[in-house]
Amino acid sequence: MAVTLDQTIAQKQHTFLSRLFANQTFWVVIAVILACLFLSFATDSFATSKNIYNITRNVTFVAIVALGMTFVIITGGIDLSVGSVLCLCSMVLAVTMHAGYSIEIGILATIITALAIGAFNGVLIAYIGFPPFVVTLGMLSVARSLAMVASNNTVVFQFGPDHQKLLALGGGAWVFGIANPVLYMIILALITGFTLRWTKFGRHIFAIGGNEHAATLTGVPVKQIKVAVYMISALSAGLAGIIQTGWLGAVTTNLGTGMELQVIAATVIGGANLAGGVGTALGAIVGAALIEVIRNSLGLLGINAFWQGTFIGGAIILAVLFDRIRNFRRSD
């Protein structure tokens, strides 16, 4: 019997499994699980609750910023300023609270700072047409310098009347003994995932990354959305800054130095494409997790810490290599 057009159209082209196997994030999850299993057997100290607690907490700061970065990278942009913005925001919080203001006012000031920086980046990029790399590279320098100005380059470790509240916010474990930063990360990841998949805003972000010109022609408010994604990225850095301040109990002006590269590495390992149009919330989290597991395991296995960069760099290249191989096969 001849196959009709309708039958061909109705036929599903991808099964659930084939889509899963073609997914970079899936393979990174597998890699993280395998690494964890291996380490649990190979070392005594990996699978202890204390070490797991440490890992999960360390993952969160990079992961939270990576969630914000994911928005920017999907539009085809980049935000190099996140590490410095994190530092500036921590410092704004610390200085405000140190001056005797309540934690609420401190957090409000921090969030306003973050949004203002994001809006500045975004307006320059979207409306004046600056390349994102250049604008955020400039902001990387500006934000850290402002943090130094704000604190006179000192360490702030006294946070005024709400000192204890701040430490509890970042360092506590309010639900089932899960470290607070991990809870924040999970909540933010859910919000990010929801936004990307289920909202018009999320759809438009992917459209801009796929074909910005087409998005403009079809009436997508491209410029406003671009400003919004840089504000989200800066906001995520600000939130991570607040949490990290509470966790560390002290802020120095070298906080978050080089963090932008870790964050970008996490999103790329998790499957985001720097050319735009591809990225997920889960990817950002597992990317950050893989980096942290690698770092943690090197220490536990007694490998010289100098090798850390080599292994993390290798993971970045390997993750993207898989993607390239898949694309080669497709284009053949």
Binding site: L5, A214, V278
Partner: protein, 247 residues
Amino acid sequence: MSVLELANISKHFGAIQAVNDVSFSLEAGEVVGLMGDNGAGKSTLVKMIAGNFRPSHGTMHLEGKEIVMHKPAEARQHGIEIVHQDLALCNNLTAAANVYLGRELRRGIGPFRILDYAAMYKRAGQLFAELKSETRPRDLVKQMSGGQRQAVAIARTMLSQAKIVLMDEPTAAISVRQVAEVLNLIRHLRDQGIAVVLISHRMPDVFDVADRVIVMRRGRKVADKKIASSSPEEVTGLITGAIEQVA
């Protein structure tokens, strides 16, 4: 009554006169071929109808009412749709997502509204079936043939009750077999009572599908006649200037 009536439309960019005193009208269910050499003013004319440019002089009437448009979204509200030469598709999105780009369907209450994937897949599927195109709403545009991509871009124009569809070189970059497919899509739009303006360099396509041909040269309209009473030789002459002008 004509769907669209252009009267004495001109457009200049500084000292350059891109379109000079052009008048014509479009009827419902009519395919008009708009031809001319590069720089003849076709694109500028179409961009004025699509709301990208405002005419320097002249008026446009849509179904008897004068319209002034400031941006493409307003043209769309008036029922004027355009299929861009590069199709304006996002490769990383599905066919349905591309069809609905910029006017996504949502469900929910008040500010809590989420994308209505099911409804968009369903309607996009119906549109592709209507266009008799072998296009699956869930497939990524990245994996599609030229004809399928055209179908996605054309399905976009069918979402709302379009009165006029402007097509900019729809057959310029696709295979011979797909050209036939696209011409069928154009006939389909015409049968629905939509006025189609087909901008093309390809003489056979225009003579195959159009009812009328308008030829532009150096910003002026030099011919506006029924396909039946013209010939490819005559149109070529008009485009190059070998024939000055016909009534």
